[in-house]
Amino acid sequence: MRQRPHLCPRHQPLGLALALALCVAACGGGAGGSSTQSASPLTIVVNAPFTGAPTVADAIANGVDLAVQARTQGGLLTAGDRRYRIRVSKLDDELSPLQALRNVRTAIDDHALAVVDEGTGVDASWSAANAAHLPIGITYQGGQELVDPVERPNVFRIAPTDRGLAFRLGEYVAPKHHKVAFLVDDTAYGTQGREALDKAWAFDPKQVVAHIVLPSGQTDLSPQVLRAQRAGADALIVWARAPAIASVVSAARSRGWEVPVYTTPAGADPIVRQQLAYHPQWVDALTFASGRMTAEEGPAPFEQFQQSYQSAFGPDLVGVKTKQGSAVTQPPEFAMYAYDMTQALLSALQTAGGADDRARYVRVLGATTVEGANGDARSFNRRNHEGVIDDDVAFARFHDMTFAPVKDDPLSASLPTITQTQ
């Protein structure tokens, strides 16, 4: 750590005068002080796995940063008769619920405006946050129990829900008359996914020939894939973090098993393609479900957002190339959700007339509608704290390291392909 230089004794009067001047300035500088100096600091905490899942965490943080830039003037925002300097604080939850809870407690101690959260540990942190009237906005995990407008009035989400993903997977996969195997990892993400899948397939549980758990950290998942094959599965539904998805694909394809693999948004994580970069053909036909990035009005709003995102942070390079040698980029889907959540948080701050009455702020947020970056409305109301509608889950399939919407699903067929190369 760098040490502060000591003041020379002869500079002490000057130093004292300077300190006094700074104090006066910090206190508002009187009537002639600038508005910047009178702004109260207000923090939005990003609670995400910056070390455990950096692509997800960085996307969330970038989305928050971009929304603050877009909605404020140099970080300054007026709400009621108050001016706020909006700051973004990034705290690493290390994919640990305990650490996530510690981070939320830090946010409470700092009187943060809100926490934009990846979702890890919300089961543990929502209660303390609720007591402090601190909203938590989830922008990645979709577990159904995480959000409950009645029980957890301070928890909101803008991200596809597990329920929506599972129902849409059911709608899409079931008519193909596959015998499916569910492969879920043993994280909270996978466990919640398993529950959602079971509910979605409740109409025809006989279609499911195997439920297989993927141990976290196990790089070779051949035994689990072999079990699925021996159970007679002719389609795999993998609900797991990105490394496990890559391992499943790798295990199946290395055995020469060309089974169709369906996954969640984690299937689009760059890690999957990075791990399979030496066998790009293995990625082909991997299908994943995720929220649609473009609205019915067309791709223009999302493309504009993508352009702003890339101008601010540069393209998110996946780290692989197409056959033609073009570098593949990742569309900022989860950054978009964090952007929309932050827009909702700041919109509610203005509607509430400031952050003094935090209970009122949470109530106002619960009745907020903003236009999302892709043109879709993101709405919270008394019965629904979900900003992404279950119906808005679409399917995309990889080919040559980029993905395109599938054509055999009505919603997906209506969507354009997002540019993913440089």
């Binding site: 509910k199 509608i389 119906d391 919603l411």
Partner: protein, 386 residues
């Protein structure tokens, strides 16, 4: 908007004066004849692929006298079409949820149920909404249970009253009998097929008139008495396995008010359940058959036919209103509503607590508390100056 339609209808009235043998459009069955139903509330942008059918079950909890105390609606909207949907169902909603296993989840705004999503060609939206009990003012049927006892005997009178009648500014007169007979037969066929009726153009000599319109209500139900009731006699229903069952129609060709009278001894403790549905119908010609035959046989003239035609269209309009207690976006191909009235379990009001004796020797508690606070304030001042 509905009020505007009613007003527009009223304003058009003078223009009809002295209209002899002119072409006029029969009333539009999709224009409501009164502000409610459908219930009013917040509205917003509406985007709907294609509403095919709506079904509603309106559950009304009534007290022992039959007065509504709770109103809830189960509304099922079937969308048939590909595309985004986004609309609000206006209503004085207190709460809303989707039944277990429902595919889409409703949202709740102030005075509206909100739906958003994508229909891949078929999407069923189901909501169970609890309404402000004041919504009962728009119900089509009034239920009244009058229970009287004298000595060991009792007399329970259940009255079902059709509340749908309204006077509508419209027209009467005489029309081209053959043309109107064809129109009426066409409307009957369309209604029988469950299809949407569009207002036809007719030739008639018309003059303004206020037409009373009522939608008949088919009802069936049961009245259950407490086990101690004995020697039960029933008028207007029949005793069946210890319950009084009844059925009929209130309104239309039948009286608008129907009674079920039960007498006996013991404690009656009556509980009712009534299921009522609006009857969508077109008048049949005298003697049956088709209107065209009736004209050929000389049983119906131009005046009767115009009255029947206007009445049929206004009757359909009234039925449409009560078949959509909650509004639906667009014009569904079919709509139906069933009203279920059931005696509700009402939590007994907590007995008022007797005032506790104050410890102040007869000084009321509030005065004692105020005195204590004043003493504390005085002590604080003294302490501050010590």
């Amino acid at each position: 908007m509905r009020l505007a339609a009613v007003l527009a209808c009223a304003l058009a009235w003078p223009a009809l004066a002295a209209a002899a043998d002119r072409q006029v459009v029969l009333p539009d069955p999709h224009v409501p004849l009164s502000p409610e139903p459908p219930l009013s509330g917040s509205t917003g942008q509406a985007r709907v692929p294609q509403p095919a059918r709506t079904r509603e079950v309106i559950r009304v909890g009534v007290d022992t006298a039959g007065h509504p105390v709770r109103v809830a609606v189960l509304q099922r909207i079937e969308l048939r079409g590909v595309g985004d949907y986004e609309f609000a169902v206006p209503a004085p909603v207190l709460d809303v949820y989707a039944p277990a296993g429902a595919r889409a989840q409703p949202g709740l705004l102030d005075r509206a149920i909100v739906w958003q999503g994508f229909s891949p060609g078929r999407r069923d939206l189901v909501a169970v909404a609890t309404l402000d009990p004041r919504a009962a003012a728009a119900l089509p049927l009034a239920v009244d249970v009058d229970t009287r006892t004298s000595g060991d005997g009792f007399r329970v009178v259940l009255t079902l009253r059709n509340r749908t009648e309204t006077g509508v500014p419209s027209f009467t007169g005489r029309g081209d009998a053959a043309g109107l007979a064809a129109v009426l037969d066409g409307i009957r066929r369309t209604v029988a097929r469950g299809q949407v009726v569009t207002p036809p153009l007719i030739t008639a000599d018309v003059r303004p008139a206020t037409i009373p319109v009522e939608v008949p209500l088919a009802f069936r139900g049961e009245l259950t008495l407490s086990p101690s009731a004995r020697g039960v006699r029933v008028v207007g229903g029949r005793l069946e396995h210890g319950r009084i069952v009844f059925a009929g129609t209130a309104g239309g060709a039948e009286p608008s008010q129907q009674l079920v009278v039960v007498t006996g001894t013991g404690d009656p403790g009556p509980r009712v359940r009534v299921v009522a549905t609006p009857v969508r119908g077109v008048p049949a010609p005298p003697g049956g058959g088709s209107w065209r035959d009736a004209v050929a046989r000389g049983r119906a003239g131009g005046r009767d036919l115009l009255t029947a035609s206007v009445g049929a269209m206004l009757g359909l309009a009234r039925a449409n209103q009560y078949e959509t207690f909650l509004a639906t976006p667009g014009t569904p191909e079919q709509a139906s509503a069933t009203y279920v009235y059931t005696t509700a379990k009402i939590a007994a009001a907590a007995p008022a607590q007797a005032p506790k004796p104050s410890g102040g020797g007869g000084i009321p508690g509030v005065v004692a508390l105020a005195a204590a606070l004043l003493a504390l304030a005085a002590a604080t001042v003294v302490w501050a100056y010590l």
